[in-house]
């Protein structure tokens, strides 16, 4: 039940003059945890709302489990959504909140009325709903809160109620719109684990919207990184981290932000960075070299740099250094190792060449090969 694929093709959406979504094609596999990640205003929330049926696309088609639902009402899509503000019904108890999706689906209008409902509704259906609510509450460990009102709950508890309300209906897929952003840092990390655990247990399809690349990296099977209404890259967290398709992806993914240096491939194809010849060979032309903090090394004969500050992260430390022309570069070292700087705080920096990324002036990834420096 909770494992259905979502297929979006050619989705476009504009508000007034602004094109928010420009030709989105995306297939979410059955049982997959897919994150839509991007900066605010990139269209990720709009895309989720189109999947939910809360917005209609201007063009394009949406299929859930193969069925075309482009023009269906939100309630006919059998999707569950967890909102950023949790959107619990304020006048209902937790129990009623969780039961609502089932009551709406299983009981007729008369059976939902406050007093008449008790007479009209079938006892069997009511018992079924009670059992489902109890099970959902058990899964999220909120059984002791069932008779409270949302206003009496903490943020984390409300979050759980919202999740229970989502999973009680056994939806085709779960849609989550930044569900953790209202929690404090510690609880957020904890709920992240719980969500991953829930996904594994239910085997359900999850579409998760976030602006936080750490959330996306740690939780997802695949990530769709959106920039200005387009999907810039779709892939596993590892693919996005180790093989960013564009400069924008490289910049967005990873903490600290990837180091970017101007580079130039000469006529022979040998790439030089700020005057230092590297072992990289690529098509001639100007380029940008991207290198992650953990791939920067202290090595003789490299670029001279001066340490600006040191940030301690337990086992590791990040050194922010300044190059001759003012660019900064961050490198990551084991905290137990010496920094390798001289008395004045100067270092010589090289990098793991096979792990570098090269981007052309159009922002696209450029292929290169690594040769021995002597041969270049």
């Amino acid at each position: 039940m909770a494992r259905q694929s979502l297929d979006l093709s050619g989705i476009r959406k504009g508000f007034g003059q602004t094109q928010v979504l420009k030709d989105i094609n995306l297939s979410v596999r059955e049982g997959e945890f897919l994150s839509l990640v991007g900066m605010s205003g990139c269209g990720k929330s709009t895309l989720l709302r189109i999947i939910a049926g809360l917005e209609a696309p201007d063009e394009g088609e949406l299929r859930i489990g193969g069925r075309d639902v482009t023009n269906s009402d939100p309630s006919d899509r059998n999707l569950a959504m967890v909102f950023q503000s949790y959107a619990l019904y304020p006048h209902m108890t937790v129990r009623q909140n969780i039961a609502t999706p089932l009551r709406m689906r299983k009981l007729g209008f008369a059976a939902r009325l406050p007093l008449l409902g008790r007479v009209v509704a079938s006892r069997h259906t009511l018992a079924e709903i009670d059992a489902a609510v109890a099970q959902a509450a058990g899964t999220l460990q909120i059984t002791h809160l069932l008779d409270r009102k949302p206003a009496q709950l903490s943020g984390g508890q409300r979050q759980r109620v919202a999740l229970a309300r989502a999973l009680v209906r056994q939806p085709a897929a779960f849609l989550m719109d930044e569900p953790l952003s209202n929690l404090d840092a510690k609880l957020r990390a904890h709920m992240r684990d719980e969500l991953v655990g829930l996904h594994r247990r239910l085997g359900a399809t999850f579409v998760y919207v976030t602006h936080d690349q750490v959330e996306a990296m740690t939780m997802s099977d695949r990530i769709a990184l959106m920039i200005e209404g387009r999907i810039e890259q779709l892939g596993t967290p590892d693919e996005l981290y180790h093989n960013p398709a564009t400069l924008a992806v490289a910049r967005f993914i990873g903490s600290p932000t990837i180091n970017l240096l101007p580079a130039e491939a000469g006529a022979s194809g040998a790439v030089s960075v700020k005057g230092m010849t590297t072992g990289l060979v690529a098509a001639p032309g100007p380029a940008t070299l991207g290198i992650r903090a953990e791939d920067v090394r202290v090595s003789a004969g490299g670029l001279p740099a001066r340490i600006l500050r040191e940030e301690k992260h337990g086992p590791d430390r990040f050194l922010t250094c300044e190059l001759a022309e003012g660019e900064t570069i961050v490198l990551r070292q084991k905290a137990s190792d010496p920094t390798g700087a001289d008395a004045d705080g100067w270092l010589s920096l090289g990098f793991a060449e096979e792990r570098a990324h090269l981007f052309g002036s159009n922002g696209l990834r450029r292929d290169f090969r690594v040769v021995e420096k002597a041969a270049a």
Partner: protein, 270 residues
């Protein structure tokens, strides 16, 4: 001392506002000889309250007037709420072309006084043969732009995400409007109910235009008949009648006071 000054000023203001009511109640228990006495002493030399109230209650069908008032006020209030709540929900929470224009029309309509419409309404009701009916007393007030405006202000602050969650759960727009959004604005409903009921319970202008049958008269019009019957001689009895028709409104306001104040301050209508 300084912290008492605001209280003293407010108490003086309250005294000025309450004096006519006090005078009304005082007169209603005084004997005719004492009526023009300017003393404010609460205990009359001769207590004739029983006589005055009995006279007010028996000379004219006071119970009938009260019942008429209840019917007219309830009829107006029910239709006003039934029409204004969905309209306000649509204006506050739905997106459709012309919404701004409609909202402007609502605000513009707030500026039209009842008196300007009295003549065409009277002619219309007369042509339709509906004068001297409850319907004629109620019809002009069925659509209240003030109610639309008040509810709109209050509904606007209802969280959109809850409405969206309800749509995904399968609530119809009407269920969202009545079951969720109005439920979150009960103080506004109470405030509006007080406004509406007080205004129409006390209304003399419109009933006087469309009703001349004593059996259909609401309390103020009934009082007018009463003073005609008595040729204005017995002020004690007249004030007893006035006190009787004012009392339900005072009780009504006291009951809804907390919600009324919450409703007014919440919506920013003052």
């Amino acid at each position: 001392m300084r912290r008492f000054i605001p209280h003293i000023v407010l108490a003086l203001g309250a005294g000025v506002m309450l004096l006519p009511f006090y005078w009304m109640v005082l007169t209603s228990i005084r004997a005719p000889a004492e009526i023009f006495d300017i003393s404010l002493w609460p205990i009359p030399k001769e207590f004739t309250g029983v006589e005055n109230y009995t006279q007010a209650a028996t000379t004219v069908p006071m119970a009938r007037f009260m019942l008429n008032g209840v019917i007219v006020c309830a009829g107006i209030l029910i239709v006003q709420v039934l029409t204004a709540v969905p309209a306000a929900y649509a204006l506050a929470k739905l997106r459709f072309p012309g919404r701004r224009l409609l909202m402007i029309a609502v605000i513009a309509a707030l500026c039209v006084p009842m008196q300007a419409l009295a003549l065409p309404l009277f002619v219309g009701l007369a042509k339709a043969g509906l004068l001297n009916t409850y319907f004629a007393q109620m019809a002009p007030f069925f659509l209240s732009v003030f109610a639309i405006f008040l509810f709109h202000q209050s509904f606007r602050s209802y969280p959109d995400e809850i409405i969206e969650a309800a749509r995904m759960d399968g609530f119809s727009e009407m269920e969202i409007c009545w079951g969720l959004v109005l439920r979150g604005s009960l103080p506004s409903l109470a405030a509006f109910a007080v406004f509406s009921v007080v205004a129409h319970w006390n209304d003399l202008y419109w009933p006087m235009i469309v009703v001349n049958d004593t059996a259909l008269a609401p309390p103020p019009l009934g009082m007018l008949f009463f003073s005609d019957v008595e040729t204005g001689a017995n002020y004690g009895a007249l004030m007893a009648g006035a006190a009787m028709i004012t009392a339900p409104m005072v009780v009504c306001f006291l009951l809804a006071r907390r919600s009324f104040i919450a409703g007014i301050t919440m919506t920013g209508v003052k």
